[in-house]
Each structure stands twice: as structure tokens, then as C-alpha cells.
């Protein structure tokens, strides 16, 4: 189905199932421990052996020799595959780091061997017996030191943000110089780890030239293509299966070392092999969100109209890596005639930087939304009013191009009312016992992306509708919204829908990334259901244009036939994909939020506690308000980590992330997170898809860190521009306490 004109009224608009807060259909499996994750699939292949990955102990150089005698002689060892056994293997097309093969070490904890043994304990023990001689080379590990020489580069997050090395509209320098009110500030954000709860894991089995991977992956079609490329296999000889993914956040967009080494280990051992990356490997072996150094300049008239805005960002990566596209939202979020955005990329020899939840916007808006707060203060304007004065309904770089929908003002105004924004005082004025209390606000912004997505739908004689697509559910609620879509389209209750996901043998979907999963994957199911409705109508001998599907019946005129009757002679099967015309180019499709945060800062210790959080979101039709709300509060929670605690600490001499486990890398815990409120504006966006939905999973993180920083400033009068806002950055600057 080609979607090239805005959607009219369609069966989804009935909202009998779609749009209703619905318990997850996979909930009973997840809460009973019966949902199978990758490493747990004892039943899929007999006689599984265990692979244990050894990571390089240097950040850059070469593996000279690996001494394997002791490991080979250790109990239970079946095979050892080392990186010296083969030339460097191909890599997936979206990755900078090579995963295995050859003597070169690009980064610390790069995989250099897999030991396969009968048991996990034996494999782990034998891996510890391997001695490695390295030739270490000097590397570059300090972003601040390399930044002055970083060249301009284009960027593409692969998730909808990016741009040329430098983008100019009008005369930024001239307008900024002559602006009566201006800000020129530098902000930094830290390297962050996705830290999904399920470590990367794969079971691999070969049958001749055919390779099956039971794995944990967000993007099945990408993964299949990458495995075919890495191993030189025909794509039809590769199968990935990933029905449950224990969190991804971008870390499982790609094939990683677990999959490659499980396959190599299985080949060497001649039997299925399972490999999980141990927790301490994940920060340095896989990808991370790169740190940024950002400069923002804003010039405005006395009455608060932006006349000049510039956002420049420098990040680091391995050769062939991309920059963090932190300036992308600044091209679209606020009006202003004279504009400049630029990206610079320093070569670093740290592990690969790549997409993490809202790549680009998440760290970019942690800076931009603080800059807006600072500017509002200079202007003597309420920060909400300042944002409203600079709202734009068109792409600021191309005024012919309108936003398909944009109600940022509505989000901010409703949020202000619900949050009690009018009670906000000047910085440092509100005290609650030992706590300095402050409120902060930020805009949320993230693009809506249109991606082809296919599905197959089956109807059997019991009237059960089965949906099949390689789409993944990474906690996003995909199983349920796909079931809701099929139930709405076919006129059956949710209990009559079965959803099969995550198998590369099924039609290729948009996958889970860039908050594009929900809208596109359900639109693909919509397309397949339209075809199935036609097949049903034809079988029942009625005109599909007149047919109404409801309550397990198909009605046309005064006829009413059981849906299941259409399958009386055998299952009906329909397959289709949603494909998009140029609506995404003609209109700017984005999602918007108003983020509100109240913090308390301990007047004596500078400990920051988040007391209240509210997000008001405008993101098109919300398919399942229950799981969509969870996506938003989860993103808000991750933003609390970014703003207050999360930082991969770089050892600049030894070249690695030091705090590479869940004790040293501090993600938010229960005690850090208060009750969170989310409000969805009642919207539909007929330009996005037949579902009229957009994404929310990343909108929830974009801007929240800035709102936290602004709340800390409002509480204390101390402006911290260097994330995370840890107490050492506040302590000496706090107001004198009694």
C-alpha cells in the first residue's frame, strides 16, 4: 500500500480497540518468567555448548601472540577461536568498529577470542588462562584535547537526525553581533551507556551453510543483512529470531560480538553454541552515546524575538564513525532568520560511539533547552513565554514546508497549568526544610520517521487472526498495538488475535529504532489487513467497499456473515507493506512535548532529588495510552540519569571506560524516581500514516535533562553547564545556609 496522500476516515478511526488503554498481551508471560529471551532457549537446538568472550586488554595496537596451551587443556574445552585465526571480518554497514578477526585492536575490550566449553564455568575458567602479548600503540582518548583540531563533518544518526558539516541560513554572525540581547555559552554532555538489563546474547547453530541465530536484536532485517555480509552467506541462508528483547535503547540495533562469536564458536565446535557478553564487557565492547562539547549562541530583540541562533557540537569517534548529531533539533525547533549549525568530529580511540535513545536530540536538547532558559532570564521573560514567542509553524530553513502538526505551545501551556508553574519563584527563593526547591521547564522535540514496513495476516476457520512480521518488541508494547490494530481492522476482540514477531523468516518490518516502530509497524499491519478484508469479502461474495467488520461478523447491506466463514475452505492469507510517498518531504513531521520538573537540592550537601515530573506530549494518535505512557516515563527516567548521575569515566592514559558495570555506572534506581505524570494531547496526524500516529518513545527523553538543569538553577541560582550535575559541581557555589 502506497501512502502518498493524507489519510481520510478509515476503520482505525472507530477506536473500539485502538486508542484504548490496554494491558499488554505479552504481560502474563513477562510477569511469570515464561517469555523466552535469547540465552534461555534451551529448546531450539540440542546439545548447546557455552562460549565465553575474551576482550582485549589494550585500547589500541596489535595482538602479537596468544598463548592457548593452558586453556586448551582445561576441563571441558571444546574449541577456542582467536582473532589471529582469520583476517579481519567484514562489519555491518552501520558500524565503525570491526567486531573480530586480525591482529589489530581498535578499542579496549574488543573481542579477541571465544572459548567454547561444555559448561559456562569451564569456558570462563579457560578464557582466564589465555595469556596475550600485545604491541600497544599510543591512542587518543581525550575529547577536550582533540576538539580544537576536529574537522567539520556531515552527520547522520540513522535515526532521523543529521545534516551537513555546516548549515547556514541568512547572516548569523552579523545578526548576532547586532542583537541587543545575546548568550554565548558552552555545554558538555558525557559518554553514556545504554545498559539494557539483558546483556547481548545469541545462540548460534549451523546446518551446512545455513546459520540460525536466536538473538536479542532490535532490527531483524538489518541484522540478517549484516550477518550475511560478515560471514559471506546468502541472505536466504541466514535466520535471526528475536521474539523478546530485554531492552535495547539503540545498543541492539546492530549485530555485535555475541552473534559473531556464537556463530564462529558453533562452527569450530561443530554444535550449537550460546554466548552472552558479560556485564563488564558491555560498556567497552559494544557502542555508547558519545560525549559532546557544544557551543550555543542566541541573539534576540529586547522583546524576545530570536534573530540569530547558532548551535555547534563536537564529539569523537573511531575512524569511519559518525558524529553525535546534537545540533539537529536546532534547525527546526525555534524561529529566527539567521541560523548556523555545525558538527565536528574528533578521532578518538575509545569504543565506538553510535545511536542511543534519541541520538542527537537527547544530548543536544540538554544544552539547547538550558540556553533557552538562560536567554529568557536575560530578557526578563518567563521561559515558557520566550519559547512561545519563538514558535514556528514552518521549517525555519524553508518556510514553504509546514509542520504536519505542531502544538508545542499547547503542550507548554497545559503543562504550566497542571504543574502549577505560576508558583515558580526567582532562583534560590523556595525552601522546604533542608531542601532548596526549584522548577524547570523545557521543550521536547523529536522527528517522526516514515519507514517501509511489511506484515502478513492469516484468518483461520476459528476466526483467529494471526499477524506475522519481523517487527520487534523491545519493551515498547509492539505485541499489543499490533494486536489492537488487527482486532480493529478485522472486527474481532483482542483475544482472537495472535501476534508473531522477531523472526527474519517473516515479512520485513521497520524494526525498533528512532521511535519509528509503532506508527510504521502498525501501518504495515493495517495494509495487510486491508488486503485480508478484500479476500474475506470476495470469499463471502460481498463488495469489500461496503463491508463493515465488527463483532466477528462481516456486514454488507442487510447481510451479516461470520468472519470465520471466509476461512471455511482453508486459511486466508494476505501480505502487504506500507510504503510512503513524499509526504515526509513535503511536510516536516515531528513530535512535541512540554517537560516540567521540580527538584530539591540539599542545602548542605548539594544532593539533587527529583520531586515531581510531568510530560505533556503531542504525538499524533496514541495507539495504546497505557504502554505509550510507559515509554514516556521510561524515557524521563533515563533522562534523570543523563542529567544527574550517568557518565562513562574515561581513563585518558589507559584508554577505556573505567566504570564498566552497573555498580560504577549509575543508572537511576527506584529511590531516584518520583511518581511521574504524562498527558497526551488528543491529536491525530493524518499525514503520518493511516494510523495517524507518531512516535513517543524518544520524545520522552528529549529536553527532560534540560528541564532538570533549569530546575536545579531555579532551586539554587547555580548554573551547571557540564552534565551530569553531580554535587561536586554545585557544592561550593550554593547559597550560604543558616
Amino acid at each position: 500500500m502506497k501512502f502518498d496522500t493524507p489519510a481520510g476516515t478509515n476503520p482505525i478511526d472507530q477506536l473500539k480497540v485502538v486508542g484504548r488503554a490496554t494491558d499488554r498481551i505479552d504481560g502474563k508471560y513477562k510477569t511469570t518468567g515464561t517469555a523466552p529471551y535469547a540465552y534461555e532457549r534451551h529448546d531450539v537446538a540440542p546439545n548447546q555448548a557455552y562460549g565465553f568472550v575474551l576482550g582485549a586488554g589494550i585500547p589500541k595496537g596489535r595482538v602479537r601472540t596468544m598463548h592457548l596451551q593452558a586453556a586448551k587443556a582445561a576441563p571441558g574445552v571444546l574449541a577456542i577461536v582467536t582473532t589471529l585465526d582469520m583476517p579481519r571480518m567484514e562489519r555491518g554497514k552501520m558500524n565503525a568498529a570491526y567486531l573480530f578477526g586480525g591482529s589489530e585492536v581498535q578499542h579496549y575490550h574488543q573481542a579477541i577470542a571465544v572459548v567454547v566449553a561444555e559448561t559456562f564455568e569451564q569456558a570462563r575458567d579457560a578464557a582466564a588462562l589465555i595469556r596475550v602479548d600485545y604491541d600497544t600503540e599510543p591512542g587518543k582518548f581525550d575529547l577536550a584535547a582533540e576538539a580544537p583540531n576536529a574537522p567539520p563533518v556531515p552527520g547522520d544518526s540513522e535515526e532521523g537526525s543529521g545534516g551537513p558539516p555546516e548549515e547556514r541560513i541568512g547572516d548569523f554572525e552579523g545578526a548576532f553581533a547586532s542583537a541587543p540581547v545575546k548568550l554565548d555559552a558552552r555545554y558538555t554532555t558525557s559518554d553514556e551507556s545504554h545498559a539494557a538489563m539483558e546483556p547481548h546474547a545469541t545462540i548460534a547453530a549451523w546446518q551446512g551453510d545455513k546459520l540460525t541465530l536466536w538473538t536479542s536484536n532490535q532490527m531483524i532485517a538489518w541484522g540478517k543483512g549484516s550477518i550475511a555480509k560478515i560471514f559471506g552467506l546468502k541472505p536466504e541462508n541466514v535466520r535471526l529470531d528475536s521474539p523478546y528483547v530485554g531492552g535495547g535503547f539503540g545498543s541492539k540495533l546492530f549485530i555485535r560480538a555475541d552473534a559473531v562469536l556464537a556463530a564462529l564458536g558453533a562452527k569450530a565446535a561443530g554444535r550449537p553454541v550460546k554466548v552472552t557478553l558479560t556485564r563488564p564487557l558491555i560498556a567497552n565492547n559494544t557502542t555508547h552515546r558519545p560525549a559532546t562539547i557544544q557551543r550555543i549562541r542566541i541573539g534576540a530583540t529586547q522583546d524576545g524575538r530570536i534573530t540569530a541562533i547558532a548551535h555547534e557540537s563536537t564529539s569523537g569517534n573511531l575512524p569511519d564513525g559518525d558524529p553525535e548529531t546534537a545540533v539537529s533539533q536546532t534547525q527546526l525547533l525555534y524561529a529566527g532568520a539567521n541560523r548556523l549549525t555545525s558538527l565536528r568530529l574528533a578521532h578518538l580511540d575509545l569504543p565506538e560511539g553510535n545511536a542511543m535513545r534519541a541520538p542527537g536530540e537527547a544530548p543536544g536538547m540538554m544544552a539547547l533547552e538550558v540556553a533557552m532558559d538562560e536567554m529568557a532570564e536575560k530578557l526578563g521573560l518567563d521561559p515558557i513565554e520566550f519559547r512561545i514567542r519563538n514558535d514556528t509553524q514552518v521549517d525555519p530553513e524553508n518556510h514553504e514546508r509546514r509542520f504536519s502538526q505542531r502544538d508545542l505551545i499547547g503542550c507548554l501551556r497545559l503543562g504550566a497549568e497542571r504543574f502549577g508553574w505560576s508558583k515558580r519563584q526567582a532562583p534560590g527563593q523556595v525552601r522546604d526544610g533542608r531542601w532548596l526547591v526549584g522548577m524547570g521547564v523545557a521543550a521536547g522535540f523529536r522527528n517522526n520517521l516514515l519507514m517501509k514496513s511489511a506484515a502478513r495476516v492469516r484468518l483461520n476457520r476459528e476466526g483467529v487472526v494471526t499477524v506475522e512480521t519481523d517487527m520487534t518488541d523491545i519493551g515498547t508494547g509492539t505485541y499489543t498495538i499490533i494486536a489492537q490494530t488487527a482486532a480493529e481492522m478485522m472486527g474481532v476482540p483482542l483475544e482472537k488475535v495472535v501476534v508473531r514477531l522477531g523472526d527474519s523468516d517473516l515479512p520485513a518490518s521497520a524494526g525498533s529504532g528512532g521511535q519509528w516502530g509503532a506508527n510504521n509497524s502498525t501501518a504495515g499491519v493495517y495494509a495487510a489487513c486491508v488486503k485480508l478484508r478484500e479476500a474475506v469479502a470476495q470469499k463471502l461474495g460481498i463488495n469489500s467497499a461496503d463491508a463493515a467488520f465488527a463483532d466477528g461478523q462481516v456486514r454488507a447491506g442487510n447481510r451479516s456473515l461470520a468472519l470465520a466463514d471466509a476461512a471455511r475452505d482453508g486459511e486466508l492469507v494476505a501480505e502487504d507493506a506500507i510504503e510512503y510517498g513524499d509526504l515526509g518531504k513535503r511536510y516536516q513531521q515531528s513530535t512535541f512535548a512540554g517537560h516540567f520538573v521540580e527538584v530539591g537540592v540539599d542545602a548542605y550537601t548539594a544532593e539533587v532529588r527529583v520531586r515531581r515530573m510531568l510530560a505533556v506530549c503531542a504525538a499524533g494518535r496514541i495507539l495504546n495510552p497505557k504502554s505509550a505512557r510507559s515509554q514516556v516515563i521510561g524515557a524521563m527516567t533515563m533522562a534523570v540519569g543523563s542529567a544527574l548521575t550517568e557518565k562513562l569515566e574515561v581513563d585518558k592514559r589507559r584508554g577505556f571506560f573505567v566504570n564498566h558495570d552497573l555498580a560504577g555506572y549509575e543508572v537511576p534506581v527506584h529511590a531516584d524516581i518520583p511518581h511521574q505524570e504524562v498527558i497526551f494531547l488528543d491529536e491525530t496526524d493524518p499525514i503520518s500514516s493511516p494510523m495517524k500516529a507518531k512516535g513517543v518513545g524518544e520524545l520522552g527523553i528529549c529536553g527532560v535533562g534540560g528541564a532538570i538543569g533549569n530546575a536545579v538553577y531555579n532551586a539554587t541560582g547555580v548554573r551547571v553547564r557540564d552534565y551530569p550535575i553531580t554535587l561536586d559541581k554545585l557544592l561550593t557555589k550554593l547559597p550560604e545556609t543558616a
Binding site: 523466552p36 569451564q122 538489563m197 539483558e198 521510561g634 527506584h670
Partner: protein, 182 residues
């Protein structure tokens, strides 16, 4: 029961251990390095208990041993001779959910589901700890009965990480179950 402990090279010492899991006897002969978590997941194929870190840092492996919650990744299986172990599989089934499991579904107290069994086991055991009057870091009065506040719940569940960030919903689920228990 699969028993992938047969060694192909060298000598691999093993030890017998017997305990009950969800009321069923388990008699295992294990490499003494096998953690309780791996005994459950890899030897008994009870994969509901999750391995998130294998270091006692995330709580995904939480199970109950003789009624108390423990991190099964920080215990060797052979330490638990004679123990009564309850895992997520022992609380309820998809067709017959434990009240805590049902409350997690109702309040959407999970997303990816990987930390969920640990959160649920931890929540069930934690409510018993409050009933037993065991204080926590946030208990103000150590001599009075422990109040079942959201602050107590958050503090006592802080060893169970959820990267999807379902904390707000989990606390609502646990509060509802606690309220019903009175």
C-alpha cells in the same frame, strides 16, 4: 533435566546438592562454581530468574530462599543444601497469576520484561520484611511498626534496576497489592 556437565578433557570435580524449587525436589550434581542462578537457568531450565549482571548489581536474579529474597547470582548452588527456593515460576502461571504478577500487568509495571521477575520476587518478599518489622534506611522510628509508605517501597526495591524506567508504575502495583493485604 539436561545435565551438560560431562567433561571432555581434564578432571572436573562435582558436588551433589539437594534442595526444593517451587515445592519440587531437585537433586543435582554440580561443578561447585555453579551459581544458584545458573543451577536454576542452565540445569533446571527455570529461566524466569534473569542474569543481568552476574555481580549482584542489578537484582534481576532475585529469588526467595526460605522466604527471604536473595541475589541468586551471588550464591553458589551448593551452599543451599536443603533450602526451600521459590522462583518467579513458583508464584503464578500465565493462566493463574499471583496477585503481584497481576498488579504488574494492570499497572504496566514493566516494559522489556527482563528485570520483571526479579522486581516481582523482590516485591513479594519485601512486603513480608515490612510486616516482620525489619527497618530500612528510610525508616524514621526504629521502635515503631514500619509504615508502608512509597518511600519505604522505593528504598527497599532500589536493588532492582529497571533500565526501561517502569519504577513509577511498579510502585503503584506494589502499593495496590500491599493495600489489599492490609
Amino acid at each position: 533435566m539436561a545435565n551438560p556437565t560431562g567433561a571432555t578433557a581434564g578432571f572436573q570435580p562435582t558436588m551433589p546438592v539437594a534442595f526444593t524449587v517451587n515445592g519440587q525436589a531437585a537433586n543435582l550434581t554440580l561443578d561447585p562454581r555453579v551459581t544458584l542462578l545458573d543451577a536454576l537457568r542452565e540445569h533446571l531450565h527455570l529461566t524466569g530468574s534473569k542474569k543481568g549482571c552476574d555481580h549482584g548489581q542489578c537484582g534481576a536474579c532475585t529469588v526467595m530462599v526460605n522466604g527471604r529474597r536473595i541475589l541468586s547470582c551471588l550464591n553458589l548452588a551448593v551452599m543451599h543444601e536443603g533450602a526451600e527456593i521459590t522462583t518467579i515460576e513458583g508464584l503464578g502461571t500465565p493462566e493463574n497469576l499471583h496477585p503481584m504478577q497481576a498488579a504488574f500487568v494492570k499497572h504496566d509495571g514493566y516494559q522489556c520484561g527482563y528485570c520483571t521477575p526479579g522486581q516481582i520476587c523482590s516485591s513479594v518478599a519485601m512486603l513480608e520484611e515490612i510486616k516482620a518489622g525489619i527497618p530500612s534506611h528510610v525508616t524514621a522510628d526504629l521502635t515503631a511498626p514500619v509504615q508502608l509508605t512509597e518511600a519505604e517501597i522505593r528504598e527497599r526495591l532500589s536493588g532492582n534496576l529497571c533500565r526501561c524506567g517502569a519504577y513509577s508504575n511498579i510502585v503503584e502495583a506494589v502499593t495496590e497489592v500491599a493495600g489489599r493485604q492490609g
